[in-house]
């Protein structure tokens, strides 16, 4: 099978994986990037959200072959536990999530939103996150924290 070159978090990798493999599965199983979660595998929960050429997509519905020519960014492209991105730090400080299973996906939706629209309204924020199901938090602290992030311009640092 022909090799595919995939571009993840700034690095290029050659793989001979089946191009029909969902990107989420590839990231987790082949690249061991397990921050991308799978909550449904059907595009319904957003836990697997990554950025593809700057747009938030459900990586469970992107076949690997489609990623050629695109840059994929996953949660691992941001900070690790000891050097969190200011947005991530704020989300922790404000208790914006609970079990955290939805969180990497939420962060990726949020980052892509703020890059394209640095001053989103409450509706913009809700629209950008409508595909991210969170069962724990009720989204209340998440919404409050995002407003604070926007107000403080944390994403512009």
């Amino acid at each position: 099978m022909a090799k595919i070159q995939i571009h993840v978090n700034g690095l290029k990798h050659d793989t001979d994986c089946d191009p029909a493999t969902p990107l989420a599965v590839f990231l987790r199983e082949e690249m061991n990037l397990r921050g991308t979660k799978i909550g449904c595998g059907n595009g319904e929960c957003g836990a697997c959200t990554v950025a593809m050429s700057g747009r938030a997509v459900c990586s469970c519905l992107v076949p690997l072959g489609r990623t050629v020519g695109h840059h994929i960014e996953t949660i691992e492209s941001l900070g690790g536990p000891d050097d969190l991105h200011p947005i991530q730090r704020k989300l922790v400080e404000r208790g914006a999530f609970q079990c955290g299973f939805c969180t990497p996906g939420v962060v990726m939706s949020l980052i892509t939103l703020l890059r394209r629209n640095p001053k989103p309204t409450d509706t913009d924020i809700r629209v950008a996150l409508q595909g991210n199901l969170c069962r724990c938090s009720g989204y209340v602290k998440l919404l409050e924290t995002i407003s604070e992030i926007v107000r403080e311009g944390l994403h512009e640092r």
Binding site: A20, R28, L33, R34, G35, K37, I38, G39, C40, G41, N42, G43, E44, C45, G46, A47, R55, A56, V57, C58, L61, V62, G65, R66, V68, G69, T74, I75, E76, L78, G79, G80, L84, Q88, L91, V92, E93, R94, G95, F97, Q98, C99, G100, F101, T103, P104, S109, L129, Q130, G131, L133, C134, R135, C136, S137, G138, Y139, V140, K141, L143
Partner: protein, 1120 residues
């Protein structure tokens, strides 16, 4: 926050936060072991059947397969679950299956795909048995017997009758008796992380090690050791991060023992992860219940007595049903001051997935029933509904009929505060139309002694080598921050900051026993244990230093992490130095709730160390056109004793309330012949971020003497009164009482629609007479007949097979691929439907041609007279185009209502038009007309058809839910299709045929959509109503009106999601054109949109919905 404390009362972020937010936290899904195999489970397709045999021989020869097991490979032992008398479930089905989805066999293989492939060749010989799905039917004399339980009536798993006080007398003395029956459907916990397990069996010393997300390692360990007949000490549970619990992970999920047995057989570690569908199919749900509540009320409003009859749908096996009986009885007997209380509960088996437990354990539903009645009592007696509640609120010093002795209690204050914050006094006489306010209360034991093991908790504290402390608790943190709270207790007690404290949860080797996180018990029981252990730790530390320093222990001071003796500089050590001096050490201690157990037979007795209370006030608004409820504001006021960590507690409140909104208004797992038909996160409608209201949380600190630092329990408190408060608010807004949960938009619309029925004029459509006749024959003749015929000669469900993926260079390359004969090739544009459909078996393809990036299909071209949008343009790209918005606002605004942001970034205009039908019978694998062909029936005729077509349905009732379809129809677009012989143009009106198939041939590709630009002034609006923002439409209308000055020149009205094809509402258009555009004329025109409708049994509301949306869209167009 109190100044007297160091860390108690402070908002501490959760310990695991940084790992979670950076994607580094290790959930069970993320853990792998060298040499690990993947397990897959074969599930019963029958709701009730005898198993004659399970033949694993062929599976064992399949590539990659290492082990396979069936029921008889396990010891003949049953899970204990709710107690030995209830035990009725083996580790895997043995001689009988009792629900669709029950585990029948399992395979472990090198890859998941190999394991799944092997399942397909396991031969199970079933003898189907009659099945029963509803409680009432299951209690019938001729109902099939699901279990042989000789001491109980047929299909009854438990009966519980108790009267506290003289209930009969209370009803005899009553001036008013209120009597109503309430029902609610099945909800599911829906943890974002599905269940899973990694099991390793060490053959050398027979140790079984498990990584699994469970709320209760203590329980799981006991259950697994029991059903596998292993010594308890040979079963080890390790710590993992858990992706949500809510009761859904409080028992031993079946995959654990199955993975363990596979690991034993294979001699290698085995991992099993449930996918979302399997989670819905086999993960335990909440129980469906029916409740008849009667209240005996004196003329002054005093509640003389309350009696509840309660039927719980236990499902196939007994897990937490008995605990539901107990929890519901508690609310019946203790909520508000009531003189006497009676309870008659039955736990009844049906052939559905077993009930498990879900947040609140039935309390939200029984509170809803009781609180509905409280509202009705207040109404009948002419009392203010808030003041009445305050008058009858439980108070400190009360003894309830069940014998609960109420200690600290601020329920009346909670109600008052809730009323103030929702603005009841100001609003009650000036409620705008369609708005309502509702109240409800709760009572929760803190903590109940449901199980013998529930009355104690142990905690360990280790001094680590580096001077840090590690608190060990076997209770599992599912995301609630309980680990953080445990650290706070220890820090406070030892005078430390939390940053030197780490918490290890779950690990059964490293931490001492504790029942686990369930029933809101952790803060209270485990918290008290943490404090006690911290005291023991301090004593141990001081005693050790006293020996070293040869000074009296009592004179050693330990504060801020430093131990010292008077001002002696030589006798002064930090924790790190103590660790060096003494070496690491550990203490463990235990807290017992010191209470007599309630009478095991009647349940009478003082039940908990203390009781928590709370009230909620909710303001809602109804959209009268669609029935949708918007929850504007929720005020939650809780008597929580003491707030330990406001961040965590507020989060618990908010999360519970939003789950309560789902329970009240939307969530329901819908079954058809025992199988859930909406087992997906689109059609099981859990609340999304759009649904989140403003929530105000207020805590009244009563500083309970029994609680740790005065705290009471809290995990379930928020959800318990939410459905009740919402329902009462909806009742005020609509003037209608609903006695079934969820109260859906459809229910509201149906109840509140104009009393004058719509004139559907069904004769206006050809074939309606035939269709109506056929439907009448469905129950007795056609459905059973076609089902038989279809099974014999219909197309079989498509096997889920692998497919080749190709990415063509250009359009002609793609067309060449499609033209290859003898190959099943599908075109993939965005692929958001195709890939899912291939998995569901609704598409069949050996090859998939990905056209998403083809230049010829990309781009938007705008000329003088038209807009041409490439077929592979994504919905997001179209929505973002300002120039398109200026020309055709409906295109941008309407497309923005398609699916979710992530999907719009990938899904394309061509794909939206071509997606398969969303009928849940078809999507869940029914061999229906659409799947199996003409010899098969339509399942919607007799099944749950709330989403199906009302217009123009014949053999298939699935509606066309592509939003692009009505929009492009109203805009009179033309679809340009490229094929082997060149291009052809299809007008939208010819694009779909018969039951909604497109006229695009398998060898063709949608190249573009061409939309004419308007020369004259026009206004447009797309109105859509869906279950949640991002869901598929229940009905939609696209309206474009062309104007000649102020005169209406053209009218295009296209209907979506109400018929198999998008259709123009010609009668409505013509009427409007000829009318004076008055209010009345608009309404009449709108009502013509349903002419010729022939609704099914439970979708009549869609006729009103369609008319209302049409009216709304026309008005918006006129207003512009």
């Amino acid at each position: 926050m109190s100044a007297e404390f160091r860390v108690i009362g402070q908002p501490r972020p959760q310990l695991e936060g940084p790992a979670k937010v950076s994607g580094q936290a290790a959930y069970t899904h993320d853990i792998t072991l060298p040499d690990m195999l993947y397990g897959a489970i074969l599930r019963s397709p029958y709701p009730h059947a005898r198993i004659r045999s399970v033949d694993l021989a062929k599976a064992l020869t399949m590539p990659g397969v290492v082990a396979a097991v069936a029921g008889t490979d396990f010891p003949n032992l049953k899970y204990v679950n709710a107690g030995p008398v209830f035990a009725d479930r083996h580790a895997m089905a043995r001689d009988k299956v009792r629900f669709i989805g029950e585990e029948v066999a399992a395979v472990a293989a090198e890859t998941l795909a190999e394991a799944q492939a092997a399942l397909a060749v396991i031969a199970v010989d079933y003898v189907p048995l009659p099945a029963v799905f509803e409680v009432e039917a299951a209690l019938g004399a001729d109902a099939p017997e699901i279990h042989e339980k000789p001491d109980l009536p047929r299909n009854v798993a438990q009966q519980s009758v108790s009267d506290f006080g003289d209930v009969e007398q209370a009803f005899a003395d009553a001036d008013h008796v209120f009597d109503a029956t309430f029902e609610h459907g099945i909800v599911a916990p829906v943890c974002l992380e599905t269940n899973g397990v990694l099991a390793r069996y060490d053959t050398e010393n027979d140790d079984l090690t498990l990584w699994a997300p469970t709320q209760a390692p203590f329980f799981v360990r006991k259950e697994i050791a029991h059903v596998l007949d292993l010594p308890l000490e040979k079963v080890h549970i390790r710590s993992v991060v858990i992706g949500g619990g809510f009761g859904g992970k409080s028992q031993a999920p079946e995959p654990i023992a199955i993975a363990a047995m596979l690991a034993i057989k294979a001699g290698r570690p085995v991992k099993i992860l449930l996918d979302r569908q399997a989670e819905f199919l086999s993960g335990k749900t909440d129980h469906a219940k029916k409740m008849r509540v009667r209240s005996a009320v004196a003329a002054d409003g005093t509640l003389l007595g309350r009696h509840t009859e309660f039927w719980v749908d236990n499902g196939a096996y007994t897990h937490m049903g008995p605990a539901y009986i107990s929890a519901v009885r508690q609310r019946t007997c203790n909520l508000y001051r009531v003189g006497a209380a009676g309870f008659d509960g039955k736990l009844v088996h049906t052939n559905k997935v077993s009930g498990g437990s879900y947040r609140g354990m039935g309390s939200p539903q029984i509170i809803w029933a009781i609180e509905t009645q409280i509202d009705e009592i207040a109404e009948r007696l002419g009392k203010d509904k808030l003041e009445y509640r305050i008058a009858i609120a439980n108070r400190s010093g009360d003894r309830t009929p069940q014998g609960w002795e109420i200690g600290t209690c601020a329920l009346a204050e909670c109600l008052e505060e809730a009323g103030r914050r929702i603005g009841w006094a100001e609003k009650k006489h000036a409620m705008p139309p369609n708005r309502g306010i509702g109240f409800a209360s709760m009572i929760n034991p803190s903590v109940g002694v449901l199980y013998a093991e529930g009355n104690f908790a142990c905690v360990s504290i280790d001094l680590l080598e580096d001077g840090g402390l590690r608190v060990g608790t076997q209770s599992a943190d599912c995301g609630t921050s309980q680990n953080t709270v445990m650290g706070q207790f220890v820090a406070e007690e030892l005078g430390l900051d939390t940053d030197v404290i780490d918490v290890l949860h779950m690990d059964t080797d490293e931490t001492p026993p504790d029942l686990g996180s369930a029933a809101s018990r952790v803060t209270f029981v485990s918290g008290n244990a943490a404090i006690k252990t911290a005291k023991t730790f301090r004593a141990e530390l001081v005693n050790r230093l006293a020996r070293h320093w040869e000074v009296p222990a009592a004179e050693i001071n330990f504060a801020d992490g430093i131990a010292s003796y008077k001002d002696d500089n030589a006798r002064r050590l930090t924790l790190a130095e103590i660790a060096v001096l003494e070496g690491p050490f550990r203490v463990e201690d235990r807290y017992d709730i010191d209470l007599p157990r309630p009478d095991p037979k009647t349940g009478y007795g003082h039940y908990a160390a203390t009781y928590g209370f709370g009230a909620q006030a909710v303001e809602v608004e109804i959209d009268p056109a669609t029935g949708h409820v918007t929850v504007h504001k929720v005020v939650v006021v809780q008597d929580i004793g003491r707030v330990i960590n406001p961040l965590a507690l507020e989060g618990q409140m908010q999360g519970g309330i939003v789950q309560g909104i789902g329970m009240a208004l939307r969530e329901e797992l819908i079954f058809d012949q025992g199988a859930p038909v909406n087992a997906s996160l689109i059609s099981y409608k859990a609340p999304r971020i759009m649904d989140t209201p403003r929530i105000e949380t207020v805590f009244i600190e009563t500083n309970d003497p029994a609680g740790p630092y005065g705290a009471k329990a809290g995990g379930e408190h928020s959800i318990n009164p939410t459905p009740a408060a919402i329902a009462n608010a909806v009742a005020q807004a609509t003037g209608e009482r609903f006695r079934k949960l969820p109260i859906t938009a459809a229910d509201i619309l149906q109840a509140t629609k104009d009393k004058a029925p719509l004139d559907l004029k069904p004769w206006k459509r050809p074939y309606n007479l035939e269709v109506a006749t056929a439907r009448a024959l469905y129950p007795a003749v056609l459905f059973p007949g076609l089902r038989k015929l279809g099974a014999a000669v219909g197309r079989k469900p498509k096997p889920k097979s692998d497919y080749h993926y190709v990415r063509p260079r250009d359009l002609s390359d793609a067309l060449r691929e499609l033209a290859m004969p003898d190959r099943k090739t599908k075109v993939m544009a965005g692929g958001t439907d195709l890939q899912v459909g291939l998995r569901q078996g609704v598409y069949d393809a050996g090859m998939v041609v990905d056209i998403a990036s083809l230049d010829e299909l990309r781009g938007i071209e705008i000329t003088e007279d038209k807009i041409t949008i490439g077929g592979a343009m994504t919905i997001a790209e179209i929505v973002e185009r300002e120039d398109i918005r200026a020309m055709h606002p409906m295109l941008s605004e309407g497309f923005a209502k398609i699916a979710t942001a992530q999907i719009r970034n990938v899904a394309t205009i061509a794909g939206d038009l071509s997606q398969e039908k969303r009928c849940w019978f078809f999507r869940s694998g029914a061999q229906c007309y659409k799947a199996g062909g003409v010899s098969c029936p339509c399942y919607a005729v007799l099944g749950d058809n709330r989403h199906h077509s009302i217009l123009g349905a014949g053999r298939c009732a699935a509606p066309c839910v592509a939003d692009a379809a009505p929009i492009l129809t109203a805009l009179e677009a033309t679809i340009i299709v490229a094929g082997p012989t060149g291009e052809r143009r299809i007008a939208m009106r010819d694009f779909y045929v018969w039951s909604g198939e497109t006229t695009v041939a398998p060898t063709e590709i949608i190249r573009a959509a061409e939309i004419p630009r308007e020369s004259c002034f026009n206004t447009q609006y797309f109105a859509k109503s869906a279950g949640w923002d991002g869901d598929f439409a229940d009905a939609s209308v696209a309206v474009k009106l062309g104007w000649n000055g102020s005169r209406l020149a053209t009218a295009n009205i296209a209907l979506g999601a109400v018929s198999p094809l998008p259709m123009r509402a010609r009668q409505a258009e013509n009427f409007l054109l000829a009318s004076d555009l008055s209010e009345v004329a608009i309404r009449i025109a709108a009502s013509k949109s349903v002419e010729g409708a022939l609704p099914l049994s439970s979708n009549a509301h869609k006729t009103n919905l369609l008319v209302n949306l049409t009216e709304r869209a026309i008005r918006r167009c006129i207003a512009q």
